[in-house]
């Protein structure tokens, strides 16, 4: 099996790159990114080969726990997620090649980057609980170390501390999940677990634990708090990896547990992911719309997309539990394609944000502006990403959202009343999320790239090196291609769908054109991306021609908006905050208890008027700050236990012994 050697060599190369990068300093570190790119290319090729060619790769290594070793297996599901991950790693590596090593010497990032990539690949191919948890934790720790790379920044330290806590909680939840899956017999191999699915009650607990474990890594609200802090704190290409790719590993973990290991589903398993996902989608975007930091907005948008994916997964569970395999296939295809699409456009957007950060040194939207003139290429790529993230046809984001809405609409066929009535409500929330996403990206693009520069740095910006443009351009190309060829992608993931839900998009190919994507019913739900793209193109070109024919040909540059302001300052433009004000008033007043105060000095006083907004994050207050205080208080109380006399320690031991013996005497 040559594929096995290729993957092994690629993973080994990543590990060696990490080891060597800890030893060398200075410009020699530059070797890391080309090597990572090559390894990602090799791993992605193997994944693609396995996905297209069927079959699976199995390996066993005699390392790890004695008598268990390390079981590795690459099946269709792992291969699909492997393509997602290695695509992201490839783009991030190419972007990394463009770093100016004289200025951005980052010896803390290079050794960890290949290790992070290798850890994510390992999670996918792990075939026993030990290997899974080990590589999951390796992934968490390497990404944590990447977040803390700029440790001189207190924000960064705070973010990494919170991330470390949340990662520990998530991993321990997964530990419980696998404990429940393995059962009292302790069969930790995935094949053993598959052969003996747990009892219903245990399965419910496992599902809850998996939701906590994977949800915390993916940013499911209310476990999201670390994500908008940690993802932006990392260097931009690592942010792209964490947001675009690592969250997908979380989705993989949930899919692996809920669809593969947990046995046949009950219908009510669908409710937690659907409800949490819908809440996450809407709240994530409300956060995004109100935030003023470019990278944090993108991180909140990631939270929203994870919510969308979890809604799709929940629907797939619901359909599968009721034996409606075609509906399940549509929902699952929506989830998987959204995983793929989001990894492309979110990586693109984060790389774009990195380019902006590199060019201007700023992330605050209110300090940017007018970048479309100074960074034309980045502006175009970012626009493609923003359009895809807003799920506009004919870009790729639309394909998966369209499939998801098909699944939601088909939700009325579900027999259970709860799901029956949940479907339209979820559909409404997703529609709200889609609208908010569009508003969010109009706001981001409008304030960062359009208008006039709001700061000296933005006015002096310049486009980024060629390698970084290539990375962004490649992803933008994929976003467009993925939008046009959605039906091809749906056919490619068919083996995964068959493994997970026992059916694929059966009516594929029955649409009016070869490339039309059909969900469920070829008479009613058909999406023909190329036709729509053609229509959009014709309409745009016609409009362009007409306007140019009717208007003067020559470009005139005159004073813009020169109505009453002889020398308008850039501060008179719409800012990110002012653009968000309507949404803040409509939603923020309820969800975040937003309060606006205007301090107006009396006439004659020449102090400036002041406007301030106070937002309250209820989730943080109730689920993070309060438990944090409780833990502190409790540990202060328990601190006294460190200063007892010998006899009291003996009393404690004796008490514990007697209590345990009594329990044994009563229970057995």
């Amino acid at each position: 099996m040559p594929e096995l050697y290729v993957s092994g060599a690629a993973l080994g190369a990543l590990a060696v790159a990490a080891a060597v990068a800890t030893l060398v300093r200075g410009p020699a570190l530059a070797f890391v990114y080309p090597l990572s790119a090559l390894a990602a290319l090799a791993l992605g090729a193997v994944d693609l080969h396995v996905l297209l060619g069927g079959g699976e790769l199995v390996a066993w290594l005699p390392i790890g726990l004695p008598a268990i070793g390390l079981h590795l297996r690459l099946d269709a599901l792992s291969a699909f997620f492997g393509i997602v991950i290695n695509g992201g790693v490839l783009a991030a590596s190419i972007y990394g090649m463009g770093f100016d090593r004289a200025k951005e010497l980052t010896p803390r990032v290079e050794p960890l980057f290949p290790l992070f990539a290798a850890a994510m690949n390992l999670v996918l191919i792990a075939d026993d609980a030990y290997a899974f948890l080990f590589s999951w934790e390796l992934m968490s720790l390497t990404s944590w170390a990447l977040v803390v790379a700029r440790h001189t920044d207190p924000e960064s330290r705070r973010a990494s501390y919170l991330y470390l806590i949340m990662a520990a909680i998530g991993t321990s939840a997964l530990l419980f999940a696998f404990g429940g899956l393995a059962g009292p017999a302790g069969g930790y191999g995935f094949d053993t677990i598959r052969a003996h699915p747990p009892q219903p009650l245990v399965a419910a607990l496992v599902l809850a634990a998996a939701l906590v474990g994977c949800g915390s890594k993916g940013g499911l609200i209310p476990l999201h708090a670390w994500l908008p802090l940690a993802h932006p704190a990392a260097p931009s290409h690592v942010s792209a990896l964490m947001s675009g790719v690592m969250t997908k590993v979380a989705v993989y973990g949930f899919v692996r547990i809920a669809f593969d290991l947990l046995g046949p589903p009950s219908w009510w398993w669908a409710l937690p992911p659907i409800v949490l996902g819908a809440v996450t989608a809407v709240l994530g975007l409300l956060y995004a719309v109100l935030d003023r930091d470019l990278k944090r907005v993108l991180a909140y948008s990631t939270i929203e997309n994870i919510g969308v994916i979890f809604v799709a997964l929940g629907l797939a569970l619901a359909f599968r539990a009721n034996g409606q395999h075609e509906g399940a296939a549509v929902a699952m295809a929506a989830a998987l394609l959204h995983v793929l699409n989001h990894s492309w456009f979110k990586s693109l957007l984060f790389l774009g944000a990195g380019a902006v950060l590199h060019a201007t040194g700023r992330r605050d939207l209110d300090g940017l502006g007018g970048l479309i003139h100074r960074m034309p290429r980045t502006a175009v790529f970012f626009l493609v990403g923003a359009l895809a993230a807003s799920a506009l046809p004919p870009l790729n984001g639309f394909v998966s959202e369209w499939l998801l809405f098909q699944a939601v609409i088909a939700g009325h066929t579900l027999p259970q009343a709860a799901l029956h009535f949940a479907a339209p409500a979820i559909g409404a929330m997703l529609a709200l999320a889609a609208a908010l996403a569009a508003a969010c990206f109009v706001r981001v693009y409008g304030t960062a790239f359009l208008g006039r520069p709001r700061s000296v740095e933005a006015a002096r910006a310049h486009d980024v090196p060629l390698a970084q443009q290539i990375a962004m351009g490649g992803l933008a190309f994929l976003c467009i291609l993925g939008g046009l060829l959605g039906s091809v992608l749906a056919a490619v993931i068919a083996p995964v769908l068959r493994v997970l839900v026992g059916a694929d998009l059966s009516s594929a190919g029955s649409g009016p054109t070869p490339l039309s994507l059909v969900a469920l019913d070829p008479a009613r739900s058909v999406y023909d991306a190329p036709v729509i793209a053609l229509f959009v193109a014709i309409a745009s070109i016609t409009t362009l021609l007409v306007i140019h024919r009717l208007s003067a040909r020559r470009t005139r540059r005159g004073p813009a908006w020169d109505c009453g302001f002889p020398d308008p300052s850039p501060a008179t433009q719409y800012t990110a905050s002012s653009f968000a004000q309507p949404l803040r008033r409509v939603y923020g007043a309820v969800v975040f208890a937003a309060r606006e105060t205007v301090v107006m000095p009396p006439p004659g006083d020449n102090r400036p008027a002041q406007f301030s907004v106070v937002l309250t994050d209820y989730v943080w207050r109730a689920l993070y700050a309060a438990p944090g205080r409780a833990v502190l208080r409790l540990s202060e109380r328990l601190n006294a236990l460190q200063f007892l006399s010998i006899r009291r320690y003996l009393v404690l031991m004796f008490g514990a012994l007697v209590i345990l013996l009594s329990i044994a005497a009563v229970m057995i």
Binding site: L650, V658, L661, A665, I668
Partner: protein
């Protein structure tokens, strides 16, 4: 066969009675004597097991128990007490009555537990196991309810007696293990003894609360 068990149960029962005696003795010399009695009873019980079950290696255990814990340790502790002049130091945390009630409850707990967990072919030995567990728990109790360092040593040794009794009943504890247990107890005794003298030198008392006062601890 039943007489064999009757006698071993009798000896174990006597040990339990000495455990109660340890709990209510007021004077240190009496505590040491009760401990010596318990150890000698243990030696007898082990010797009986060795003879009745034809396991000659247990004779060595019995010999160790008799010579070390029945004679050497009590004599050494008697001397220590005499040298330190602490015959009358009886400092209890809990009153005698309460301690005895707790001891009774522990015995009941041990009985209830062992009846539940030891079933099947080993059920003949389970009374002995229950008694041994009760002796262990009461040795622990004694370490708690007394403040004096010497009585804490005695409590510890009494626990160890219970362990040996349990191991004899469980049949299958290798001699090597028993010897190593005996030696570890001996070493523990040395450590205890050294500590007692050091405490005495420094604080003029062997009340262990003095240690707490030294650490600035609140009671």
């Amino acid at each position: 066969m039943s007489q064999v068990y009757d006698i071993s149960h009798l000896l174990a029962g006597v040990m339990l009675v000495t455990s109660f005696a340890l709990l209510y003795q007021q004077r240190i010399a009496a505590v040491l004597n009760a401990f010596a009695a318990q150890s000698i009873t243990l030696a007898l019980a082990v010797a009986w097991a060795a003879w009745s079950e034809n396991r000659p290696d247990l004779f060595i255990t019995a010999l160790i128990a008799f010579s070390l814990k029945g004679v050497v340790i009590p004599v050494a502790l008697h001397r220590t007490v005499a040298r330190l002049g602490i015959h009358r130091e009886v400092e209890k945390v809990v009153g005698v009555g309460a301690a005895l009630m707790v001891g009774l409850a522990l015995t009941a707990l041990a009985q209830a537990l062992v009846v539940k967990i030891a079933q099947g072919p080993a059920s003949q030995a389970r009374e002995e196991l229950a008694l041994a567990l009760a002796i262990i728990l009461m040795g622990f109790l004694m370490m708690i309810v007394r403040r004096n360092a010497v009585t804490q040593i005695v409590g510890f040794m009494s626990m160890e007696n219970g362990l040996i009794l349990a191991a004899t009943g469980a049949r299958g504890m290798p001699l090597v293990v028993e010897i190593s247990v005996a030696f570890s107890v001996l070493i523990a005794l040395f450590v205890f003894a050294v500590f007692v003298f050091r405490i005495r030198e420094r604080f003029d008392t062997i009340d262990i609360e003095a240690l707490d006062r030294m650490r600035g601890d609140r009671r």
